[in-house]
Amino acid sequence: MLEVSGLRKVYEGRRVEALREVTFQVDAGELVCVIGPSGCGKTTLLRCVAGLLPPTAGSVKVAGAAVTGPPPRMAVVFQEYGRSLFPWMTVRQNVELPLKEKRMPAGRRGELVAGSLAAVGLADVADAHPWQLSGGMQQRVAIARAVAYEPQVLLMDEPFAAVDAQTRADLEDLVLALWRDTGVTTLFVTHDIDEAVYLGQRVIVLSGSPTVVMEDLKIDLPPERDQLTTRSLPRFADLRGHLYAQIQRARGDR
């Protein structure tokens, strides 16, 4: 579904090589996490995949079609929830706007908006403005907007980096539940090793800058995940320890 091959990005002017050679793929319906040491170009990678940033070399393909700008059936959840929602619109309007742009008939639109808001547990605050909600709830709105858009591919850029631990656990389970229900192909960028192991079917480890793929690790945990039992499995600790060592190595390389 998503093919990234030989992706390279050099920022002109600053002459910084953010990505050297990144290649991986994500199959339809997979949930893949991307981790790497801080400053390794995770966000650059995500912006290239999203079509927001033209790569210097290499290519990104979604369902076989090359990405030159934001693809029509791709949604992104950004880290900065406070800035990705329109403050002058209500929660409902925020979720509805992209659907209006798709010229979707009003009836279907209403169903999708109501359905996705209910799915993230925000049905009763649909008429509030984003700034009236807590950070976790704002990020739920952004997730509802992405889900209602019915994307083929969902990108998430460290979406829970700025919320507290309890909220974070809730939101992780929300993402898993939505992914299971919709089967949407998901690329989840994070700097949190535990989160990557808990959520992903696979974890892609990026090296320190200039960035290449260090490892493409299959997470062989049972498909049903649970905050308590999954995290206390011995295998979870193994994977976590392995990835931790990898990240340390990536850091040392610099």
């Binding site: 798709k102 403005h129 700034w131």
Partner: protein, 259 residues
């Protein structure tokens, strides 16, 4: 404190100082016999006689209409050009010094310039008002559009919000706090230019009439004109604040939410 007590306090707080000022004015005019300071009662009488007459139709309304026309022109041109310049970093870099210069020209000197180009009719006055009001609107719009949130911009790109819809939902709304600030500055400049353009060369209008009274030493009438201009400025500022509160309700609400 009971309800009436609170109401009395409130009335005293709001009206106490103004009442005191009127009393001082009354005492001063009675004691000094200063020809230029007529008693408040005399001014109030002149106000009623002068302005509750056909002058409202002949002088006040045409003045306001010209103000409105010039202001509307300035808003359209200022916001339009401001959005275009704000969205293009190169255009902005090229236009910035020119705009800084035009903004720094004291608007009243435009009156003789534009008289040259457009004569002394209504067109001249509307043009004077428009060309004075346009700069603060333009510069603030550029600033607002430049400072649009990048994440929000990316969000629009990802979800296919582009063209007119992007302009409406992202650019104009996002820049609206700065645009409103520009509109507020422009309003006071507009009133100044409305008065001055009429004082310069005109046979009607508020500014013209007030100068006429002054030249004819109709002092109470002149004061009533000053008072009317003051009221006008006050009411327009009030209306503007209402509009601003409506347009920016999301903005002020957010500020409170964060504090």
């Amino acid at each position: 404190m009971n309800g009436t007590g609170r109401a009395v306090t409130r009335v005293l707080t709001v009206a106490g100082v103004p009442a005191l000022l009127v009393i001082v004015w009354q005492l001063y005019s009675a004691a000094s016999q200063n020809f230029y300071v007529p008693a408040p009662g005399r001014v109030a009488q002149a106000f009623a006689e002068t302005w509750f007459s056909e002058r409202i139709l002949d002088d006040v309304l045409p003045s306001l209409a010209r103000l409105l026309a010039g202001y509307a022109l300035a808003v359209a041109a200022g916001v339009g050009a401001g959005v275009a310049i704000g969205l293009s970093p190169r255009l902005r870099a090229a236009a910035e010094p020119v705009l800084e210069f035009f903004r720094a020209i004291p608007p009243p000197v435009l009156v003789p310039l534009i008289m040259l180009l457009a004569g002394i009719g209504d067109g001249m006055k509307v043009l004077v008002i428009a060309s004075g009001c346009v700069w603060p609107i333009l510069l603030n719009t550029v600033e607002g559009v430049r400072a649009l949130d990048e994440v929000l911009s990316d969000t629009c790109r990802m979800y296919g919000v582009r063209g007119l819809s992007r302009l409406r939902h992202l650019v104009l709304r996002g820049a609206s706090p700065q645009i409103m600030a520009g509109l507020r500055q422009a309003l006071s400049i507009g009133i100044i230019l409305m008065v001055i353009s009429e004082m310069f060369a005109s046979s009607s209008g508020l500014g013209f009439t007030i100068v006429l009274f002054q030249r004819g030493f109709q002092i109470a009438e002149m004061w009533s004109g000053i008072l009317l201009l003051g009221l006008l400025g006050y009411v327009l500022a009030l209306l503007f604040r209402r509009l601003e509160r409506r347009v920016l309700s999301w903005h002020s609400g957010r500020g409170v939410g964060r504090a």
